[in-house]
């Protein structure tokens, strides 16, 4: 087990190195650089900046260097823990990101818990009450849930809340709370607001998970050991929960690693629509304005979280399933 984890951990830097090259290639790809789009923004607002000034700035940020040199500098700074300076905000990227990262993670964890808390019981119910009316309702819900883009759901909910209840449901805090330092009241305020975006984010995952849980459990319920358990006189609850539910659960755990990064990056679009203080809109803005080091830093963090998620699910699976643990 320790060797398995160690092996995977050793692979992590290699993967990150490959990703850093890929990401740098992508953020470098748009024609022009931040300063050309910066000059364009200035020009459209009426003020102008001279060619000499631009060149001086370009030199200062190292944008005039050949691309391999720029990459080398970037990676060397990354290794020293320096994520660089945001060209647009003129602030260290690490500050900008860490301001948003906490709430991004909170949102992801919240919707993740919501997904599992709904999906597992729903899946078990659907499988044990196959072809009951609630099973049909859940099946329809699952199909529609998977088919609805989550930003669409966010739009509909916002529209309903706005035009029928007269409340705006954007943001994660009330307007007067957003800029206050953390306190218990602010935390309560967060809880009041976070459930709706979490719900929006959770829907698609819930639908998919319920379907998988139902199918897995149905496979298990037909096996002879379930009949044995029943013949031994266990109550129906014990029959289902003690053995088949646990077995049906295993394949799901292996996909946790997929769901976690999906939640981070999935929140990107919903966060933009619902105007949440989230890492997603920050990335979007950085991409559009060619604030390349900020975009690069955020993309790297997404990659890191994705690799970490996969690793986590592999470890969890090995812990849960002795066959995999002993296999090597």
């Amino acid at each position: 087990m320790a060797r398995f984890i160690l092996h995977r951990l050793m692979l992590l830097p290699v993967l990150m190195l490959i990703f850093s090259v890929m990401i740098f290639a992508i953020i470098q790809a748009p024609p022009g650089d931040f300063l050309t789009s910066y000059a364009a923004t200035l020009a459209s607002s009426g003020s102008s900046v001279s060619m000499e000034q631009l060149d001086a700035l370009r030199q200062q940020y190292g944008l005039d260097q050949p691309i391999p040199v720029q990459y080398y500098r970037w990676v060397m700074n990354l290794l020293r823990g320096d994520l660089g300076l945001s060209l647009e905000y003129q602030r260290p990227n690490i500050d900008l990101i860490s301001e948003q990262l906490g709430l991004t993670l909170a949102l992801a964890v919240f919707s993740f818990v919501l997904t599992w808390a709904i999906a597992i019981p729903a899946g078990i119910y659907s499988a044990t009450h196959q072809r009951s009316w609630l099973d049909y309702v859940l099946t329809v819900f699952n199909y529609v849930g998977v088919a609805t883009p989550n930003f669409m759901l966010a739009l509909v909910l916002m529209w309903v809340a706005f035009s029928y209840f007269g409340i705006g449901v954007t943001g994660l805090f009330s307007a007067d709370m957003a800029h206050l330092p953390w306190s218990f009241a602010k935390f309560v305020d967060l809880l009041k607001h976070i459930w709706l975006p979490s719900f929006v984010l959770a829907i698609a995952g819930t639908a998919r998970l319920t379907r998988v849980m139902r199918a897995n459990l149905l496979d298990e319920l037909n096996k002879p050991y379930v009949t044995t358990a029943r013949a031994k006189g266990l109550s129906e609850w014990q029959v289902v929960l003690r053995y088949p539910a646990r077995l049906a659960f295993n394949p799901l755990v292996s996909t946790i690693g997929w769901y976690l990064p999906q939640l981070f990056s999935g929140s990107l679009i919903v966060a933009t629509v619902m105007n949440l203080p989230n890492i997603g809109p920050l990335l979007l803005r950085a991409l559009v304005n060619q604030d390349m080091y900020l975009a690069g830093a955020i993309l790297l963090i997404y990659c890191f979280l994705t690799i970490l998620g996969t690793l986590l699910s592999d470890i969890l699976l090995a812990l849960l399933d002795p066959r995999i643990r002993m296999g090597n």
């Binding site: 890929m22 954007t170 990064p261 559009v288 979280l305």
Partner: protein, 380 residues
Amino acid sequence: MTAVLQPGATPGPDTHAAAVEDRVSVASNWTLVWWRFRKHKLAMISLGLLLALYTLVLCPDFFSTQHPETTEARQAFIPVQGLHIFDGWSIDPWVPAIVGKRNAETLRMEWRTDAEKKVRVGFFMPGPAYKFLGLIPSTLHLIGPRDASQRIFLLGSDRLGRDQWSRIMHGTQTSMTIGLVAVTLSVILGIVLGGISGYFGGWIDQFIQRLIELLQSVPTIPVWLALSAALPRDWTPIQVFFAITVILSLIGWTTLAREVRGHFLALREEDFVLAAELAGCSRARIIMRHMVPTFLSHIIATSSLAIPAMIINETSLSFLGLGIRPPAISWGVLLQEAQNIQTLALAPWLLIPGLLVIVAVLAFNLVGDGLRDASDPYSK
């Protein structure tokens, strides 16, 4: 098996089991798949729906009532004018007229439909000129106002007074094609690379497997965003369209390649492959003629389940302004109009393109599920 299959074309009362069995045993694999598929009612309905949508794709101009780019600032945010086929007891299609009144406080035009005044419409009416299938010039439209000077808005209009019905027809063309093209690209990549990986093995297999693992640990949405943001701003809509399909299929092929590889690994040891080798078939012939057909139906089912994901992703990208860009129209571009909550409260019909996304994705999922069940020879 026979009880399950019920080749139901002509199961007359005199058909006995032996005759059924005869038909089943000589039926080709595709016939068997079709017989099994036909029994899924929902999948059949969805298939009909998809065929209808792809009819729109062939010629959106014929189905639209106006040119999708005609703007008229004085006709912004006109509500849905429901199409009525019957007038009293006779077939005489009409839509209610719209009457506008300027709100004295907000100075905004407020429209409502007036069912007392009827605007007569007809089928196969002349309208704006277009080219049928891009070749034959025509002015014929499925629906149009009898009085050519009037504009009708079957699904309302947007902030620039463009007709949403006509724009949806054109958006359907882009969005449905992009899903299909992107999946076709993924399938080709998946079969070729997965085939090479599974058939040859060795270092090339190792290389392709590592590449797949690498691509699968890429956070898709952020990377898609970054790639689409990197597209030059001055590209033509056609170039952007193809770039977006390539971006979408770049990651989609990996799952397929894995499956194809699995099939190849399993089939490589089969007797019929050995027989083909001994008979002197070339490698390409063994792969294309003997191995691929055995799992092709399964691959088609899997890829039809991948189309909806492509459609949702395209819609999301375009919605954020990073996918298909105006003047090209797609469902995502149309939904961009609905981004603002105040606009949405004023004109909720701008959400209709989203409804279409849901319907199309649902239909693809149901057809895909039906196909998957039907293509599994051991299914019950």
